[in-house]
Symmetry: D2
Subunit: 352 residues, 4 copies
């Protein structure tokens, strides 16, 4: 059936494998007459580029986006926008030894079970490199949101057991880990170096904050805003949990604590995380996601091969220690895509 | 646009308001020649009925389901199955006083913001009563899963701060709280009584376990199994967080801990919660959801009316203290619906 | 998979069998705050009622519609509108003799081939009675179009070989055949009586005219307006051909004849039928559909039974001689539904 | 909203403008482990290439397809297949003079009305060149059908008033017009030369025959097979009418003539065109489409510019005289795409 499209109004379809010729995305439903340049998209792609942060692998991807359609004289035309990034600097040889082996924590086993065939090179379609299309589409979604003064920010609130204690938003773009707490960022870097030396990897938590979202987005009862956001975020490879507002904290709250009182100026606190009954309420939208440690570790692991015979592997090559910080722009992209989709849907309710 | 349908292959469309004439669901895409009776559905509806558990409100809903189409001589025919439950024993008078007031924690404000009109009686479409259609459809989904020996169970692992310490599965259907720990269940009941006396309400955590799910379900990269499950669960009113397998726990794990080693017999542990790369891996699927306290509390609350003027309210009437245990069958239903959908989708990949 | 939903923005899901308990439709995506009463819908249902025209069967269906959800104090709320019509005056006995026989021209054979089971009573889901849900939903779509002064009319231009020579629109609602030519209508009635005596049935052509449609509706390149209209119309049981504007006549035209010149006041003729490149151009939309003779004839027919053994049948009971005029309101409904859907979609392109 | 995707199971998304950088298609839902090479696709693209037939323009498009994803070691992997064709030999200068003019019969006016912006070069997205993506996707769909021995053929049965009198199928691929009647093909060529000298263009009729389609495809009541086929075909630019089986001929038939009797060997004639009640019946599927004359004529035409001021234009450049024969492979592609989609959908009904 294929599950490579997302959205109803602002609809994206991504394609491409880690070591294939190229990756890309087709965006259908982008409003016409909107300024859009390759630079708008490149800026976002650069934010997810490896080698940027100390936690990232040094693979030199150039990742230059090409706009192949949908733009005329610098403006969107309402026709599909096709974006492409060539795969360069690809070396599939290290994967040759693992082509019949199911790497633990990876999708090797399940792709083989589902499709009976898999492109093992670099993880194929299941590679984190697939997110190139998401980030490119997210850049377009962000342009739509910008026109409404809606801003999406994803930042690191926990990594390797270190938590950010401060929420100093301007700091986020200043350090390599997109962390709003400068001191915590330093400690997180320490944890990364430590894990790297041990051949191990780290998990963490990313928070996503949306400012300026108007009330009214979300389509109950199934396409509720938080439901679509949860789907969008949970569809990112490394994410194992999603929560909105007080999140799992609600389990130990009482109604009298959890309810946000309303005053003439709006909500007086925001444990709802900006969404009530599946519809945005005008307050900041607040989400958090749990990011699992990257499964490609340098330590010896037990697993099986295609014949289900036990083997022991040790993954070679230079891999990231944590999906953070590269996953942060991906989270931003997914939230932006879902919001743009709902923003356009909401227009249909307008009278006149 | 409407967001009242879910699924692609096994597609449900629910309708109905809390105090309207009736509620129901239309199921499109159910395989033909499957036994299906009103009793199959009634059994599930009875499990979500109020007045069953001590945590539940005493409203006497009969909730008798009627099958209006799609069944011939006790078997499904492949045509849409329309299920209906009449609303009886409805008293809208207590809501009259609140018709111009936005109850904190409820969707009153956002429905008004989105639609510019709302049926205030009993919360209208945003009422938990909307889940009648979900549970009815879930009963049909469970029949599909049963044929493949797939079983879905939702049980309470935390309520009002009390955690279940034991996983005694047969106990689940024996106590009113669907709790696998008899002793914890008793303590939870105590917390409920205590909160009720105080006019307050409680949150908790429900875990959902799926046994017997074959490897191969899930449609990367967006319709991954955990993404669709997260959406299905997050679309339930009271749920504010969803996690799979080790969930938020992954944030503090290392790759060497988090990866599940594979042996000749399959996965040797299950921190992945049965899903890798968006596809079921044949192990048990394990999900947890955070359930917020019911927002209808008996205590005085500050809020505003439609004119955004401050008012103080105290919600009358007998409301549940916790969405648990009534939400448990709803969680089961949503998981069953998503799995049935993916099970049918997966068939298209079969050769021959 | 099920194919019982249509539309993306204004989305309808119909259900019900000819001799089942009831039939109905759920409409998702209807704009809120629109006046809607049972009478609005009943008026349209009455137009498709049998016994109205001389060409129609005398079965006394009351077909009273019930609105079960989505309306509050006479206005739409933006939540799903569930409409239901009970099946009364149903006598399934005449169908008993045919339960193992594939009636020629009917869907008996194909439903059995597809589903391996079928409700033979009255044709089950494949009965023309299924259109009750379409007409009910069409009534709601018409209300949406009315607000924009868009009007849809379906009328008979050919029946039993008699063609309407005049286009006297006010005449359409005055005769039983929805024919814009009073004299032709009389001749058509003669043909109907003649065929009825012979136990045979008649085909014809229905034209659908849309006035007041603004330019801009349609979503190239697949969801072009004429493509969605063709699908909507071709999904009606008896229809075997659809054409727009000059239709099949274009085959013998030259470009210099077929092109509609544009002047300062708009298009100077309308061979395009109001649609260019898949998008409405502001002129009248003009469609024609070919309606096959009703397959239930009183004459002896050769066919086979479920065992593929030859049998001879003669269909008893009083059936219509032609799907016209009952199909005309169904055509109107389908066109209205598709237009309402595209009208709402188009809103998303608006700036601001 | 965008309407550039088609299909539910086998889902294609096309993109690209006539004079943009490239055109392409993403196919999602193609079954895994199927042989697929660039040659398979190139063969079909070559069949729609201009300069092939005498009725076609001499523009030298190389149209070499590149497979960018979804194939591994010559086989499909179940991941999205991205196909791309670069636009070369593009000269946009002749269009400069027309950039503010609405060419009659073209989509210039409606694209401007809908989007408020348009890429005028070569017709932009509304160009027939857009069908490159359709034909490429159709080649993949044909591979799926081939495995089931289903064959789709589109051939010319009328052009410029000349009708094919013979149905000599092997002749179809032997002449430039895909005409099954050699003598008629010669006369059609004569009509083309004549029209060309006059600066005018011609319409015609294409018939599509599907052999080997099993009974059971189609999803009533809206996604009926003929409804989806009609949509697919009507979404092709030049097509203004679609009919199945006896088509508009049914209007003058009686039920006793129109019904196809069933014998032990199957249907004894095929006026139904292989589809009953929206589901294939195992007989040949037969469709016909009306193709309008190409609107780009060399004769003087009256029209208006963007300011709605009258202007007179004469379209320069070498254009085809008829959309036939280049439209024939496009018709085949659309029918193949719809059938592949339904074939995969039907699998979900299988038990076990």
């Amino acid at each position: 059936m294929g599950g490579n499209s997302l959205g109803r109004h602002f609809r994206i379809t991504t394609w491409g494998e880690s070591h294939g010729k190229a990756l890309g995305v087709v965006i259908d439903g982008c409003p016409p007459r909107m300024d859009l340049s390759a630079e708008d998209i490149q800026t976002e792609l650069n934010r997810r580029r490896p080698g940027q942060g100390k936690g990232s692998s040094p693979r030199k991807e150039k990742d230059r986006v090409e706009i192949l359609s949908g733009i005329f004289e610098g403006k969107t035309t309402g026709t599909p926008i096709s974006l492409l990034v060539w795969n360069e600097d690809v070396d599939s040889r290290p994967y040759e030894a693992l082509k019949d082996v199911f790497r633990p924590g990876h999708a090797d086993f399940t792709y083989q079970a589902k499709y009976g065939i898999r492109d093992h090179r670099g993880g194929g379609r299941a590679s984190a490199r697939e997110t190139v299309g998401r980030v490119a589409a997210g850049a377009v979604a962000k342009k739509i949101l910008e026109e409404k003064k809606i801003k999406v920010m994803a930042y690191t609130v926990e990594l390797g057991g270190v938590r950010a204690e401060k929420m100093d938003y301007p700091e986020i773009e200043k350090n390599d880990l997109f962390c709003p707490d400068k001191d915590a960022a330093k400690k997180m870097e320490g944890k990364i170096q430590e894990a790297k030396l041990q051949g191990d990897t780290l998990g963490g938590i990313v928070e996503i904050l949306v400012r300026g979202c108007p009330a009214g987005l979300g389509e109950p009862v199934f396409d509720k805003l938080e439901a679509d956001l949860a789907k969008g975020l949970m569809s990112i490879g490394a994410i194992r949990g999603v929560e909105v507002g007080a999140g799992f904290g609600v389990a130990r709250m009482r109604g009298s604590q959890c309810n946000d009182p309303l005053g003439p100026e709006g909500f007086e606190k925001n444990d709802a995380g900006g969404i009530l009954g599946g519809i945005s309420n005008g307050a900041d939208i607040l989400l958090r996601v749990a990011v699992k440690p990257i499964p490609s570790i340098g330590l010896e692991q037990r697993t099986v091969n295609h014949a289900m015979r036990p083997v022991t592997i040790k993954i070679q090559g230079r891999h990231d220690v944590s999906a953070i910080p590269r996953i942060n722009p991906v989270c931003e992209a997914m939230v932006a895509i879902v919001l743009a989709d709902h923003l356009l849907m909401q227009k249909s309710l307008s009278r006149g």
